[in-house]
Symmetry: C2
Subunit: 435 residues, 2 copies
Amino acid sequence: MNPVEIIRNKRNGKILTNKEIDYFVAGFTSGDIPDYQVSAFAMAVYFQGFNSDELYQFTKEMIETGDIVTPSEDMRNYVDKHSTGGVGDKITLIVSPIVAACGLKIPKMSGKGLSFSGGTIDKLESIPGFKVNINRNDFLKQINEIGIGIIGQSDNLAKADKQLYAIRDVTATVESIPLIASSIVSKKIASGSKNIVFDVKVGVGAFMKDIKTGIELANTLVELVKDFGGNSIAIVTNMNAPLGNYVGNSLEIIEVIECLKGNLPKDIEELVYELAGELLIIGGKATDLLQARIMVKEKIDNLEALNKFSDLIKYQSGDSKIINDYNLLPQAKHNIVIKSDNDGYISFINAEQIGMLSLSIGAGRIKKTDEIDYSAGIYLPLKIGDKIKKGDVIGKIFYSKENLKLDNIINIFKSAFEFSINPVDEPTMVLSVIS
Amino acid sequence: MNPVEIIRNKRNGKILTNKEIDYFVAGFTSGDIPDYQVSAFAMAVYFQGFNSDELYQFTKEMIETGDIVTPSEDMRNYVDKHSTGGVGDKITLIVSPIVAACGLKIPKMSGKGLSFSGGTIDKLESIPGFKVNINRNDFLKQINEIGIGIIGQSDNLAKADKQLYAIRDVTATVESIPLIASSIVSKKIASGSKNIVFDVKVGVGAFMKDIKTGIELANTLVELVKDFGGNSIAIVTNMNAPLGNYVGNSLEIIEVIECLKGNLPKDIEELVYELAGELLIIGGKATDLLQARIMVKEKIDNLEALNKFSDLIKYQSGDSKIINDYNLLPQAKHNIVIKSDNDGYISFINAEQIGMLSLSIGAGRIKKTDEIDYSAGIYLPLKIGDKIKKGDVIGKIFYSKENLKLDNIINIFKSAFEFSINPVDEPTMVLSVIS
């Protein structure tokens, strides 16, 4: 067998045999197949795709390059959630304590965020004392006792994926549905997840720009998990405008707590009820969304979900007093208030632009080694559909970095908004549900 | 500017700007853009192609990575010929002395052959004493005096092409029409050629398997040369069966001499008259093919073409006595005669299989560093359409290698033939002419 032939076969649209896939994955993992053949292969896959057999085999081989946790029989009420990422996306931190309060076990492993704002792990690390590196036994004990735990993803899961991703990242081959699906699912299956709800975000603030591609990815994810014997639902959701009213790490922790106290912005409410609902169904705690929604409401109203979040913080060595005293979270040195130049209805808030802005004030990272300023962030009091007058506050930017070009920042912030003289509907958040 | 963006743009089917192309070529030439990005780029070009502006710019940049010969005004009757390569393809060695005898100047630079049998340079090197490395001044003097010279291609022409080809070769990105065209034309333009006739071979024994792809390449080559201000004609020709009656280096030299003595097999005759004719037209010595053909016939009949070939051998230090004494050429130690198991008409001779066979007996090379056995080769007395009886000689294999698996070789040879009980037409050799 020869790597050039395998690349050529894929390039020509042939279905690769299991042997060819095994040979290729083994070859690039061992280094016998050099990067320039891996990148040509990835580009051929970008154009020709994988059918479901190829995708299963490829993912299986990727899984076998790292540690594998085999789920046990008594893990039927274990669930997992994965978001493809967006701007202001703190849904995991709201949904996980809710479903844990309902009796599900949700052990989450999460990657660090790249670009825009931080990831789930970064947000948690803004809580003083919070630890995201916990040894396996303590983590399992924690899940057993409180049903919830969120830690950094081990580099030992589907090890070759990291190596492949590093090549894809610099060769314009990230945007391949089967390679994305394989990367996500390999790590989930390797970590022992069996019941997985995916939040596939589409729109200007997401990796996937259009709904068609989002649905394609959602279908691929769900089918792939099923091929591994798991249960899966994927929700395709709207990621055009930033989620909620805050973007930034400690600011989003405050928003998570507010949501768990019952103060949910409309967009977050729709997503939380849908995603928590699907998790309750897939985890066997509810038979339909209506029943699930009632449970979600109850756990928010009776503060059990908030208490789960408090338990989570305590178990992972964080300071749970932040729940009632936001001043204990990192505080930005400065802020600027931004007022509207327009009258009318807000018709659009460009999440990508807000994301880039949050990155520029230090709330995100470009390289894995960049330091995040947990206190930096953006407050967006208004949502699409809100009526405003000239002079109303449309934003507040929290920052500590010195020498920022403030005029520039204000202009970028303002240009993220579009206005209409006519009333504008609130956007639909859940675009499609695939199971 | 950033290489990932350039790869992504090409991947997405965008037309690259001149700046992007310049940046990419400069980057991979300097080594700033690593091989894995070059291979991903090449695969993107395989799928998305180049339009004529991109192809011109890319080729221009490739040319500028090496030495450039600027053709002078008095080079109007200089012509060049390029074949994409086939099995038994000795046409350059027959056509060049003919057109030189007609008064054209034909300075040929030729690459060494890879796979199948040797290239033009290898065939010439089978002549005792023949030198293919000549300094530039002596070469120009030779062209000036006798109108013909054939030397090895300088590695300094379009230097980056060698580097790019090395990557394409191992990443299944050789088969890209624009990259093939750019590779061929960059070296021709860099060496100062202005009037170029291309022989684009299609069929089982050629790199291009189907006529559609061949015509596409032919069109691309002709347009590209024109974009550089040159004149060009491309002939798409049949490469299903081996050309002529001999495959192998010294055997093909004998066949060249026989052709120049007037003994042309039908298939070679058709190609020689067509290609020499087009060269005479493009070089301004004939106004149409009819006039050109009369000139070609005259130069063969009056032996002026043969004398030109003799001059070529002498000028390049070879032993021209071989023209009348073939025993002075390298002789194989052994031969096997192969007889037909069938009655009927020959309907097909698989050039690829004969090519692989000639390679296995030492007549070609797989790696650039392999040694060629000039004496090894195959005699094919019969052509498609010939009527044969069981027991007739259908081939003779000349070899010196010991320990060859002769049974295997005989079987491969026989299996290259197909027979019909009904009469079979001679194949058409010239399939399309593009100018």
